[in-house]
């Protein structure tokens, strides 16, 4: 069965510091997408960053980057220069490219940013 595991229910980071959120997944597929979504308090969930499994290069979006380790089935999110607006729930998600429309989500990590 395909599963996504986020082992850190809650994390804290000091403003301007760097934090890494962990995500592991289990799959026998070779072609898939991985995502990190952000859900700010009382606001809409938005995509932070996306990684295609066939691309070896780690994705980056401004202060957000991932460490994608395909063999280890690990997909961590690094947030650099943390800002108060980064405080949110972060969900890791997975979707295979072919065969199903389903996305599998982790249980989420609540990130607190301390001023």
């Amino acid at each position: 069965a395909q599963t996504v595991t986020q082992s850190q229910p809650e994390m804290s980071v000091q403003e301007a510091e760097t934090v890494t959120l962990s995500c592991t997944y289990d799959t026998s597929e070779s072609d898939y997408y991985l995502f990190w979504y952000k859900q700010p308090p009382s606001r809409q969930m938005i995509l932070v960053i996306r990684q295609e499994a066939y691309k070896q290069q780690n994705a980056t979006e401004n202060r957000f980057s991932v460490n994608f380790q395909k063999a280890a089935k690990s997909f961590s999110l690094k947030i650099s220069d943390s800002q108060l607006g980064d405080a949110a729930m972060y969900f890791c998600a997975y979707r295979i490219v072919l065969g199903t429309y389903k996305y599998i989500f982790g249980t989420g990590t609540r990130l607190k940013v301390l001023a």
Binding site: M45, K102, G106
Partner: protein
């Protein structure tokens, strides 16, 4: 920008009532999804639809049904609401044709069943 809207942000219903949650997207997306979000459980898929009038069960379809009569609208129906259906409900849409598989989410409906 893609916009996904949901009919209510907050809803309070009584046990046994029939409840309709509506979702509308404005970007002509083929795929639409209903999730339930509970603390510690993440997002769990209730139903999804890959085209008009087409639907498939997700991981927790019991007690729910859906309707998709028009491409832009996907409704979630609680046939007889129960207290264990108190939750946050999220609608999402996506288009495989874009090649990026990003899901766009609505703001959510927090449903309380008393």
């Amino acid at each position: 920008d893609v916009k996904v809207t949901q009919s209510s942000r907050y809803l309070v219903k009584r046990t046994g009532e029939k409840v309709f949650l509506e979702c509308v997207q404005d970007m002509d997306h083929e795929n639409m999804f209903w999730y339930r979000q509970d603390p510690g459980l993440g997002l769990r898929l209730i139903y999804f639809s890959y085209d008009v009038k087409m639907k498939e069960k997700g991981d927790i379809p019991e007690g729910y049904s859906v309707s998709r009569e028009k491409k832009e609208r996907f409704s979630l129906i609680l046939e007889s609401a129960s207290t264990n259906q108190t939750s946050m409900y999220l609608c999402a849409s996506s288009s495989p044709g874009t090649g990026n598989y990003e899901q766009y989410f609505g703001p959510g409906t927090r449903l309380t069943v008393t």
